[in-house]
Subunit: 317 residues, 2 copies
């Protein structure tokens, strides 16, 4: 594994603002000269260290084994894990940090990869916000992408998704630290499912004897982990980027194949909407397929159900 921070220079953002100095934090597992490069796009709170947050998918003996693939992760533009963003704005950046879009993220990634000599991606893959990036890659750079795998995401962020993000930002505005905790808890509910909570927590009392239910203790624990690693401004910025995502008017990508993976119990990105997006692109003439990951985990199944996901990805080979 090697990491570097790639200076891609100035970037004109979709909102019209110029970011004068943009860095992209890149992590590479395996040989960068390998035939098969996979770019793994991370979700709202991930990082370029894709093996850290997707250990069931990346690593020795896993689907993306660095012995067979060159696996690349890049912290998104706007992120707080080494790339330019509100937590690391760089010299001359406007204050406050300007709104960025999924398209901006992908353009920054494309330039960073070009500087590293990577011009072609066998696969670009991601879940949630990562899936939005994978789709945007196929639409904006279709000749550089062989296959885009869009998991737990589709062709727009829904009104319900927009509303949920808005409430999370409202929590942040109430109190930067305690609000970040509350925002994470709201988000976690959208990443899980009723079935999973019934199985894991049911109505059991708190395991430490506190005056609360077990599920409340679980959410506190998740908030503890989160506030140590996330920055409120970054979180607000990246949720805005999700909100803005809508490619329903896009033409079919030339060359790039699309695989949409819906998750049966996902209520943030409903499987029927994922299927509809796959069908919409197919109807436009794209090589666009749909597969369903059957899981009770909810949206997070793309992280939790590595084996089932690998079985679906196996059809790629």
């Amino acid at each position: 594994m090697r990491e570097e921070t790639v200076d891609i220079g100035a970037l004109q953002l979709e909102c019209g603002t110029l970011l004068p100095a943009v860095e992209q934090r890149v992590t590479i597992y395996g040989d960068a000269r390998a035939d098969r490069v996979v770019l793994i796009a991370h979700a709202l709170t991930g990082s370029s260290r894709v093996q850290d947050w997707w250990p069931g998918v990346v690593g020795e003996g896993k689907f993306f084994d660095p012995a067979r693939w060159c696996v690349v992760g890049i912290n998104v533009l706007g992120g707080c894990y080494g790339s330019t963003g509100p937590a690391n704005p760089g010299a001359g950046a406007p204050e406050p940090f300007p709104r960025i879009s999924v398209r901006d993220m992908v353009r920054a990634q494309q330039r960073a990869l070009a500087q590293l000599g990577i011009e072609r991606l066998a696969v670009v893959i991601g879940g949630s916000l990562g899936g939005m990036q994978a789709l945007r890659w196929a639409l904006d750079f279709p000749l550089q992408v062989d296959r885009a795998v869009v998991i737990g995401a589709h062709d727009h962020h829904s009104a319900m998704g927009v509303a949920l993000n808005a409430l999370q930002r409202e929590a942040l505005a109430l109190d930067p630290q305690r609000g970040l905790r509350l925002a994470r808890k709201i988000a976690i509910l959208t990443y899980k499912s009723e079935e999973l909570f019934n199985e894991r927590h049911e109505r059991r009392p708190d395991r430490h004897g506190l005056d609360r239910y077990d599920v409340e203790g679980y959410l506190e624990h998740q908030a503890d982990l989160f506030e140590r690693r996330m920055d409120a401004r970054t979180y607000a910025l990246l949720t805005h980027a999700m909100d803005g995502f809508d490619v329903r008017e896009a033409a079919a990508p030339k060359h790039a194949e699309l695989l949409f993976v819906g998750i049966s119990s996902d209520w943030l990105f409903r499987p029927r909407e994922v299927r509809a997006a796959a069908q919409r692109f197919a109807s436009l003439g794209a090589a666009s397929r749909y597969a369903e990951l059957h899981s009770d985990h909810g949206h997070d199944a793309f992280l939790a159900e590595s084996d089932a996901l690998a079985a679906i990805l196996g059809a790629l080979d």
Copy 2:
């Protein structure tokens, strides 16, 4: 319509605390001496004025027409619309106001009705927290209830429901006023559905030209309405009462018939769980039936879809 505040004296709560002086705010539409009395139990933020919040169901020409029924509404114990609760604790009440349960609410109602000379209910009906009360009535006073109609509720509050309420209380704790607004917005998302939001708001920009989506403006408007009429301590107390609801160990009620009504698009109280509750009581020997209200409105369909609901209730006659 006539209203009165009924003093039911001291009430021993399920938590063990004695409330020394309890009042119940009662609103009666129609003739209290009528054969057929229906008690309409309100949900989390309702009041005894049931025609105000359920105008499609109560009133001239509606299913519960005061010319044919004596329609009774009672503000729940713990509520802020005239009954004893944190906003109106009464002399000698412990501070802070003690936790109350759905059973406590129903016991207070039963005593208030007894003082008004009402010993028998042809129907007790409610949605959400009101449905929990209707079921509790049938279980605790089965010989006084002919039929209990439980809409958009079932036999326990789920781990997901508990978690959602906990996050709303956490918002209140961050800031009493702005937190109450955020809590209401979280709640509204659980009362609506993705389908409804897609239809009503889609990804349209704010109708007043503000830098937000239409759905965000809708939520602000709902919060404006709410903060004028709700009290944060009341809201926290009543959500705790919901969280505590679990009658899965209850025996079948003698005499009282049960009708459970699930809402097809309800994700707070899933229709399959409502059906399961109806079947559980039936398997214990109760006269327990299930009907489904087909609607895209989500949980709030019990308020929004009066005609479809009346069609289901029509089977009662």
